[in-house]
């Protein structure tokens, strides 16, 4: 099985090379994206078949001469290959239509299949060298894609920050694998699994893994590159970066924390829970302050990664206390959310890309009324908004429900940190879900509803069939995963069993296709029945209304309390919609404040309102480090301009010191 996956990866790499040559052809786009679609679909099917099969490994004589390159396809890798394959297939299908808006295809087409190859390779790597090689391939290919529109303002800066953070994450993972390899230096994952590091080493390795993989996934405070880089890339690449690459980073963390490190410790659960909760709430608060559609979606990725890490933290905490069934529930909730998020985030980025292609605008304050001009895109985007806001009967609600059930399972854990952290995370999860719904009411309401605010919004046209097909396929998947959640849970069972030693009860045999996380007396949820009830009630209401009520309808101007104003500037903008929430939360978290300058009476100049916002994490965390690096480089810069005598003096001094050290060490 693993051999076929490796063949797919090699084909993708070949397609990347070919993309460099065919980029200028008129059908080059179709070749590259069509080929990616085909290969991703094959890889997806392969992964589905290997989910329940036994792990298969292969060792190739590449890379380091004494290690070779190990590859392995076990249930965890198979699940993440499904996520990668699904996201890649969707993005490739979308790009078949969207790609025609690309002005410089030679900057995108060669790197896109390479990026896909990197994503797949990380998941199947079974030793540290191939893992890090694939990780860097993934980072570099996506950096090239981020820089593909380098002439647009801000994109070069985004690429710069991205490459720094990507290198930082690679460095942290390198140190982590170095610690796990131990003094013997065995980089194969099998050797790491068999070794039992001391608690200190294991703790340090887990922290490094959290920093390295977490920075790629976007946990606070290492998230700063995400809202810069994801919007800068073309839309299908943004969908891949948000929906798939962050999940591959989560895969890295899960592989290290659950598989390579062995038994978790309680404090690791506390740290991951804390990080997850803070990330979730801060991500959505940042998103609420944004009015650029793609930056808003990027910040929401940060929030959802936080939710995933809350589930992972619960699994670690329960595992440390010897409760494998509870750990299975926590891990299932986290992995279900991995799947859900990759589906609806891709859908939302496809929609934002469609809007950008149709109007040229990303700023929602220049849009409006798109539901009339782009009805199909609007419908698919609405399904995505409802799914990410965790509304039943769609899939976002199921993973949130499972996480809450995991929180409720064991209130009697002995560690005090967990006793306080778990209820706090319940509150933070609930708060982030409610704020996410608020944010998507704002995003959809300002961009798609209302009246058009600019001419480009008034003349937008619907996008092409391939993009629409990709969006509708993912929207249908959101609904299906919401009403048949038992299928997904049973597919996850072998993965969870391999990592925690237990699994959730089999869902497919439960009456009426409900899901029962622990036992039916305790709690259950039936997405299918809720969906059918809603449909039946709505249909019954329509029948009764049409039978007994008046069916007359008349169009007229809007009521607007008797003072209708046809100018679209009287509508709410994104900033005005978020003003109550900005006032409640923003004043505390972001030190937001507004200054109003009113001209004196009789003066005809306009009044101005200015909103001030300070990014706390950037000011506290990144700016001092950047400043320190700058000052250090200024000091070291003097070394460039010394005389020849000084350089000789340096060499002489170094030689003397080394000889002295050698003498003293004897």
């Amino acid at each position: 099985m693993i051999a076929f996956t490796l063949v797919c990866i090699v084909l993708l790499l070949g397609l990347g090379v070919a993309g460099g040559f065919v980029a200028q052809w008129p059908s080059g786009r179709r070749i590259v994206y069509g080929g990616s679609l085909a290969i991703s679909s094959v890889s997806l099917l392969l992964a589905l078949f290997s989910l329940a099969a036994a792990p298969s490994t292969v060792t190739l004589p590449l890379g380091l001469p004494w290690t070779g390159a190990h590859f392995r396809l076990d249930p965890l890798a198979a699940f993440f290959l499904i996520v990668v394959g699904l996201g890649s297939a969707g993005a490739s299908l979308y790009a078949l239509g969207y790609g025609r808006h690309e002005h410089e295809p030679q900057r995108v087409l060669p790197f896109y299949p390479a990026f896909l190859a990197g994503l797949n390779l990380v998941v199947v790597a079974d030793d540290a060298f191939s893992f890090l090689f694939a990780w860097e391939l993934m980072s570099l290919a996506s950096w090239a894609l981020v820089m593909s529109h380098h002439r647009e303002p801000g994109n070069a800066y985004a690429g710069f920050v991205y490459i720094i953070m990507a290198s930082f994450s690679g460095l942290a993972l390198l140190l982590c694998f170095g610690l796990l390899a131990g003094p013997i230096g065995s980089y194969a994952f099998d050797a790491m699994r068999a070794a039992h590091p001391t608690p200190g080493i294991a703790a340090l390795a887990l922290l490094l893994a959290l920093i390295g993989a977490g920075s790629k996934a976007g946990v606070v405070p290492l998230h700063a590159w995400l809202p810069l880089a994801h919007p800068a890339a073309p839309s299908h690449v943004s969908a891949l970066m948000s929906g798939v690459m962050t999940k591959v980073a989560v895969y890295g963390f899960v592989r290290i924390a659950f598989d390579l490190l062995g038994a978790p410790s309680a404090w690791s659960g506390i740290v991951v829970l804390a990080v997850g909760g803070v990330t979730a709430v801060l991500g959505v608060l940042y998103a609420l302050m944004e009015h650029d559609l793609k930056r808003l979606l990027a910040y929401h990725t940060v929030e959802n990664i936080g939710i995933i890490f809350i589930g992972l933290g619960l699994a670690l905490a329960f595992g440390a206390n010897g409760l494998p069934a509870a750990a299975a529930l926590g891990l299932t909730a986290a992995l279900f959310h991995v799947f859900n998020h990759s589906v609806f985030k891709s859908l939302l980025f496809f929609g934002a890309g469609a809007v950008q292609a149709a109007t040229g605008e990303r700023d929602m304050d220049h849009l409006g009324g798109l539901i009339h001009r782009m009805p199909k895109t609007a419908f698919a985007f609405l399904v995505g908004c409802a799914a990410i806001s965790a509304l039943p009967p769609l899939n976002g609600f199921v993973s949130e429900w499972l996480t809450f059930q995991a929180i409720l399972l064991h209130p009697d854990l002995p560690q005090w940190g967990l006793k306080i952290m778990i209820p706090a995370d319940g509150a933070l999860l609930a708060l982030s879900a409610a704020l996410a719904a608020a944010c998507f009411v704002k995003a959809y309401g300002i961009a798609f509803l209302g009246r058009p605010r600019t001419a480009v919004a008034a003349e937008a046209r619907e996008v092409d069939r391939c993009s629409l097909a990709a969006m509708f396929a993912f929207a249908a998947l959101c609904l299906l995963a919401g009403i048949f959640p038992g299928v997904v849970i049973d597919l996850l069972a072998p993965v969870v069993h391999a990592l925690t030693g237990a699994r959730m009860p089999t869902q497919l045999g439960v009456a009426w296709l409900s899901i029962v996380p622990v036992e039916s007396a305790r709690s259950s949820y039936n997405g299918l029945l809720v969906f059918l009830f809603i449909v039946a009630s709505a249909w019954l209401t329509v029948l009764v209304i049409h039978r007994f009520a008046s069916r007359a309808l008349r169009r007229g101007p809007a009521w607007d309390c008797g003072f209708p104003d046809p100018r679209p500037e009287t509508q709410y903008t994104g900033g005005s919609f978020a003003q109550p929430i900005r006032r409640v939360y923003g004043a505390v978290v972001f030190r937001t404040y507004e200054t109003v300058t009113m001209p004196p009476p009789g003066d005809n100049s306009p009044a101005r309102i200015e909103k001030h916002f300070s990014d706390v994490i950037w000011d506290v965390f990144y700016a001092p480090i950047a400043g320190a690096v700058w000052r250090a480089s200024e000091v070291l810069n003097h070394l460039q301009f010394l005389t020849i005598r000084r350089y000789l003096a340096f060499v002489f001094a170094a030689l003397v010191i080394l000889l002295l050290a050698l003498a003293l060490w004897q």
């Binding site: 005090w416 006793k419 306080i420 409640v584 004043a587 505390v588």
Partner: protein, 221 residues
């Protein structure tokens, strides 16, 4: 674990005291704050009386009567008169917003639980949780003193802190009456002194806002 009614009602009254402390954090008008103080003392009196009932310690009934008559009726009445005669603002200026203050209150409750419950692991189960809740009331009283700018609200915070100490003492089965009466007397004297000083300050500086008073300090920085 089978709970007797005594256990439950004692907990309920201690929890009610914490609830009223939170309600005091929430107020932003002076008269409402003073009413909450009266309610705080009333709940304390009920709690002490219940403890007297289940412990069979009749001298605690006197403590309850002192709490009721003195702290629930006399002190709030005197405070209301003082606010009226001082003519000070009827709104309380906060240093930190109410939402953040309540969040800090929750963190303080978690902290007092985290500290008190393991320490008293071998003590009487009724007393353990009541002492943890009493420590929360003390900490929330201190929080109120720290996050309010108005002098009268600081006095209210101080009095609620003392109520928490009282709850802890009666829950621990027996603070001798001598200690109780002397503590009550010292509170009374402190209260009278504070009242006199507030009037003098008001006469001199025309305000009792502590931020403004800070400007009149002797040494300049």
């Amino acid at each position: 674990m089978p709970h007797g009614y005594g256990f439950d009602i004692a907990h309920m009254l201690a929890g009610g005291l914490v609830l009223v402390s939170f309600m005091m954090l929430y107020q932003d008008r002076l008269y409402a704050l003073i009413n909450m103080l009266a309610l705080h003392a009333l709940v304390l009196a009920l709690s002490v009386a219940w403890q007297a009932h289940i412990q069979g310690a009749p001298h605690d009934y006197i403590t309850a009567a002192i709490a009721l008559g003195f702290k629930a009726i006399a002190v709030p009445w005197a405070l209301r008169r003082m606010v009226f005669r001082l003519g000070i603002h009827r709104e309380i200026e906060n240093v930190v917003s109410i939402g953040l203050t309540m969040l800090a209150g929750i963190a303080l409750v978690a902290l007092s639980m985290m500290v008190m419950l393991p320490v008293t692991a071998h003590a009487d189960p009724i007393a353990r949780e009541d002492i943890a809740l009493a420590l929360s009331v003390v900490l929330i009283g201190l929080l109120m003193m720290v996050t309010r700018r108005n002098a009268v609200s600081q006095v209210v915070g101080f009095l609620s802190l003392e109520n928490g100490v009282n709850l802890a003492a009666t829950g621990a089965q027996g603070m001798p009456m001598v200690v109780e009466i002397s503590v009550a007397f010292s509170i009374l004297i402190a209260f009278i002194v504070i009242g006199i000083f507030l009037f003098r300050i008001r006469e001199r500086f025309d305000t009792v806002d502590l931020e403004a008073l800070d400007a009149f300090r002797g040494e300049r920085r």
